[in-house]
Symmetry: C2
Subunit: 218 residues, 2 copies
């Protein structure tokens, strides 16, 4: 009645559940929660229209489940940037570089590893009932880590008002290249957003931010 012994070790129900989560995460990441109809998701997953409500109890709950699913898929991948997690404590400039590079790299990537970041970035700009969930799981800790780096660079407390606002400003630059791509593409149609561009922008943003923070700390 319940679990069936399948070749892949997954019951038929678990297979459709996973196919729905994959399809939902990819579509939500690329087109946004509100611009995707449950029919699209079921069509992409090869499932029936009623499957979402049967397995998840509605589109909103599927959204939450897809966020968690995409998060697990991203965490399962090789951490970005690749390589060992550094032997000793990094200088704050390098920490900042890794931080910004991680955001832009994933934001400009495609494929399952990029779904989560793109869903979260969309959530920041076009909030849904899942925003609080995304903040608690990702945005909040992510931002607090950045505030720690900025505080270290300024030699101040992480709770300092200016530290928080400057960290938000750094996040803003990374978010901008994801959220306002339509504006950039309009004036620079040939511009591509690949990993090389992520490298270039990361260098620029980090050099700009470090110089600005040091100039401000004086």
């Amino acid at each position: 009645m319940t679990a069936q012994a399948h070749p892949a070790g997954l019951s038929s129900a678990e297979q459709t559940r996973l196919k729905l989560l994959d399809a939902a995460a990819e579509l939500f990441a690329t087109k946004g929660f509100r611009d995707v109809a449950v029919r699209d998701i079921c069509g992409k997953a090869g499932a029936n229209i009623a499957a979402i409500n049967y397995h998840f109890g509605g589109k909103d709950n599927l959204h939450l489940a897809a966020l968690d699913h995409a998060r697990r898929r991203a965490l399962a991948e090789e951490p970005y940037p690749a390589g060992p997690p550094a032997a000793g404590p990094l200088p704050p400039q390098d920490k900042l570089h890794r931080h910004v590079r991680g955001m832009l790299g994933r934001a400009f990537a495609t494929g399952p590893a990029s779904w989560y970041v793109n869903m979260v970035l969309r959530e920041m700009v076009d909030p849904s009932p899942a925003l609080a969930h995304a903040i608690d799981d990702n945005i909040g800790p992510h931002q607090r880590r950045l505030e720690g780096i900025v505080a270290q660079l300024m030699d101040r407390e992480a709770e300092d008002r200016e530290v928080r606002d400057l960290a938000a400003g750094i996040t803003a630059m990374a978010v901008y290249y994801h959220a306002c791509r339509a504006v950039i593409t309009h004036t620079e149609p040939d511009r591509v957003f690949d990993q090389a561009e992520a490298d270039r922008l990361t260098d620029l943003i980090v050099r700009f931010a470090v110089a600005g923070i040091e100039g401000l700390a004086r």
Copy 2:
């Protein structure tokens, strides 16, 4: 048959047209194009549901007309920041301060003068068919002006790739406090976004940007 002599000098049709434009601009600015139903606009304007299609030929055309309407209303107001447009040529730092202060001040404002900026900011993050229109009228010239200021600060050409990207980064910080307000409010529920906050953020952003640009130019 057409124009009727009204006390206010406006025919009944022109009155309905204006009431529709005001209602549409305010609702589009506060809730976004896609989250506003034509029924809401007509209800707020006290007009019939068919009025929009009669006067403007559809919701999309109303959006374009409301953008122009809001732009004219904003230009009719006292330019912000108030005061004389400065006697001589300002130093680039002051130009940048006026530029950022103008964006944040209008973005944090309420009332008819803020409708246009809020509509344009929404357009950047959630594009509609009116995006090209908004870019040609506002975003493009606005960004080019900022690129000129940044180029002056760096002593480079305005077409320089880094100049353009740094100008985009400055815009990004201002856009962030408008587009991601839900994220900020979630972690800092008591934070208010008024003109005093616009002053504070402008100072911070300008000092940060000037220091960063000068450090980068070396």
